[in-house]
């Protein structure tokens, strides 16, 4: 049984009181699904028409305000302004003005229709980081106006709508999401404007964004991608499984795909490019900045079962003479970089001297040169041609979180991170699949 989200029980509050509270709350909400087809009456009690839809206006506040209703009068769909609404009750609506504007309702900028655009459509629950379908929407009277306060996504409310008349219109706030936490996409006539800042979405963790991208239908997925800052989008893409990512990249326009790939970490980008058909790979590489394309092409040359194929080329390289203080500054500049797990120290010929951890850097004296931090034990390395078994062996022997890859002369080429090794060893699958799609 799912928990009613309305329950805010303080310890010791008797059960009956909780039940009454829930009932009170339910009684104060008006179900939009129940309003569909409800009679609209004027102050004398005469029928004007039937309610067809509820118009809301999106502004900067979290909850949309009801700006009017669409009433079917004869064959016309007319608009009644919210100011003329005397009362919106469970199964009928009263208007205070008998004047009816007989022009057909036309949607204006910034307006949405609750029944046509939101009810039964896919929405993104930012708090829960998942995709839901709105089973019902709830209105509440606050001040003099009606506001949309919640979205009900429970199965029970979905079933309730199949029932006739009275039962259909009863608010059952079971799994109600705060409307402030909802992000909606692809409004007709208003495709990409956000109600609330991209900030809401940026709050989500990359893995959660990746899950959302997997669950949404195509137009919403495109909309979500374009709403995100490219760096955030790239982070989310890194969390997707290889197969999902491949499918996504094939879906979006080439320039967008190239941009996203260019912003991803090299090792993840290479993994994604490897899965694409050759033709598409060439197109995307051509659309990227030349330097990036060259870097990725070099990595692509390696097979994905050897060290060169799973390493990332983003390295922080230090000279022996650099001071700890200036290194710290450089590290701080790259604070957002997830792959910064170590610092490579090279000599004047560019050959690897040591691989320092951030902890070593922290412990160092700011005025000292980096060479003072160089100390045994020196980490082992592998060449780009080393196979996975060797990589694992060396990684375990190092007892570190990463392994440096060097060329034949000992110059550092890249770094292998633990999660890349795990990815290479396992093939995980998630999401929907058919019986024959299961398996490594």
């Amino acid at each position: 049984m799912s928990e009613p989200t309305v329950r805010r029980r303080r310890p010791g509050l008797p059960r009956r009181r909780g039940l009454l509270l829930r009932r009170e709350v339910a009684a104060s909400l008006v179900s939009v699904a129940g309003l569909v087809g409800a009679p609209v009456r004027d102050s004398d009690g005469r029928d004007v028409g039937r309610l067809v839809d509820v118009v809301v206006r999106w502004d900067r506040s979290a909850y949309p305000q009801v700006s009017g209703i669409v009433v079917k009068v004869g064959f016309r769909r007319t608009f009644v302004h919210a100011a003329d609404l005397a009362q919106v009750a469970r199964r009928e609506v009263q208007v205070s003005s008998t004047r009816v504007d007989l022009r057909d309702y036309e949607r204006r900028e910034g307006e949405s229709l609750l029944v046509k655009d939101l009810l039964d459509h896919q929405l993104v629950d930012v708090d829960g980081a998942r995709v839901v379908r709105a089973a019902d929407l709830y209105l509440a009277l606050l001040g003099q106006r009606y506001w949309v306060v919640g979205v009900d996504v429970s199965f029970r409310s979905f079933l309730r709508r199949v029932l006739p008349g009275r039962a259909r219109s009863r608010a059952t706030p079971e799994r109600v999401l705060d409307f402030a936490a909802i992000q909606q996409f692809g409004l007709p006539g208003d495709p990409l404007r956000l109600r609330r800042a991209h900030r809401t979405l940026e709050r989500l963790r990359p893995a959660e964004l990746a899950d959302l991208l997997e669950d949404l239908g195509r137009p919403q997925r495109q909309a979500l991608l374009s709403m995100l800052h490219p760096d955030t989008a790239a982070d989310a893409l890194e969390e997707m499984t290889a197969e999902e990512l491949e499918l996504l990249l094939r879906e979006v326009p080439d320039e967008q795909a190239a941009e996203l790939l260019a912003r991803m970490e090299p090792d993840e980008a290479v993994e994604a490019l490897r899965d694409l058909p050759e033709e598409e790979r060439e197109t995307l590489l051509a659309a990227m900045p030349a330097q990036r394309a060259e870097e990725l092409s070099r990595l692509l040359a390696y097979d994905d079962e050897v060290a060169g194929g799973i390493m990332t080329t983003s390295l922080m390289v230090l000279g022996l003479d650099e001071t700890v203080a200036s290194v710290r500054e450089r590290v701080l500049e790259h604070r957002g970089d997830q792959d910064l797990v170590g610092l490579v120290v090279v000599d004047d010929d560019g050959r690897l001297v040591d691989d320092l951890s951030l902890l070593d850097l922290l412990a160092g004296d700011p005025s000292e040169p980096a060479s003072a931090l160089v100390a045994p034990p020196y980490p082992g390395t592998v060449t780009p041609e080393a196979d996975l078994a060797e990589v694992v062996e060396q990684l375990t022997a190092n007892r570190g979180a990463s392994l440096v890859v060097v060329d034949a002369e000992g110059r550092p080429l890249g770094r292998i991170l633990a999660d890349d090794v795990v990815d290479a060893l396992m093939a995980t699958r998630s999401g929907r699949h058919w019986p024959w799609q299961v398996g490594p």
């Binding site: 039964d120 459509h121 896919q122 239908g217 879906e251 299961v438």
Partner: protein, 404 residues
Amino acid sequence: MRLLALFAVVGPGLIAGLSDDDPAGITTYSVLGAQFGYQLLWVLLVSTVALILFQALGARIGVVTGQGLTGLIRQKYGAPAATGAMLALLAANIGTTAAEFAGIAAGFQLFGVPKTLSVPLSALLVTTLVLRGGFRGVERVLLVLSAVFICYVGAGILANPDWAAAARGLVVPTMPLTREALIISTATLGTTLAPWGLAFIQSYAVDKRLTTNDLSLLRIDVVTGALLTGVIGFFVVVSCAATLHVHGVSINNAADAAAALEPLAGTLAKGLFAVGLIGAALLAASILPLSTAYAVSDMTGSPAALDDKIKEAPLFYATIAVVTVVGGALVLIPGAPLVTILVGTQVLNAVLLLPLLAFMHGIARDRDLMGQYRASWGAAVGYQVAIAGISVCIVALGVLSLKP
């Protein structure tokens, strides 16, 4: 030609096509041939054309919108309509699952295994394999087994059929206005244009994240699969017409149907037929409960997957259980006539098709959902004609059933 690209896309149409040659299909086509000879071949032709039309439409809707059929119906038509459509799909799928188990029972009966043993065991086997994920290797074996029905092509040719009569039957639409003729025609429509196949192909296109670039390749795949169904069906009818109808033998059980393979396989006919029956039935029985469960979770809006625990996705697993158990139970009823079940469930399919096809037509014409891929006026007329044709069949059947 991007052959390699084709193989990346190929799958759903072909699988749906081959799965249409399931026990229900083979039995229905056999009865069609045995009872009416070549006369009703045109019904098969019409069904295949309708299959191509609507499967291509389903695939296209899936590719363009990125959503499954039941979810889309909910979005466009609301909760009551979606629930109705879902119930119709559920009933049709339970019926078809019963048909698959009936096929398994019939196949094993030819080897002497009683249905009380074969049905529960195969249900258990299929469910475990699908849920635990050990299905992949088994699937290849089953595909090979079900490909046995391609033997019908050989059998049909070797049986020396009257090709002129076959050609006539294919092109000239005549029908004796008897209840039996209408039943079998409706069943042919229902089994060829199976509701589950429509939802499945859309769902598959969504899951494989096919894009509009892949549409032309997908169309080829769908058409190939549908043609395969039609061709195999044609030869099933022809071989039964040439061997059984000629001698006035009607089909009461699987052994009778197997006799149609004798020109090709001689004494091996029965064994071959049974093996193909079992293979095709197991394959379809693995897809049906899963496809229904995906449709349910599409509709309720909570995407579910086989990775979820039972507690996380109760409705998903409940659907799989209900479809499998009820389907199997229907067959296990003592004295249940297997051939009647096989044909009867397909008539049910045809009836339950109507709301689904109507919804698909509505979605295809929706500019908001389909954008530039909206069905053209000409295509819409095509769909309407097909829907009208099916309705006429069903109404006629209903009328004739009520007549004393």
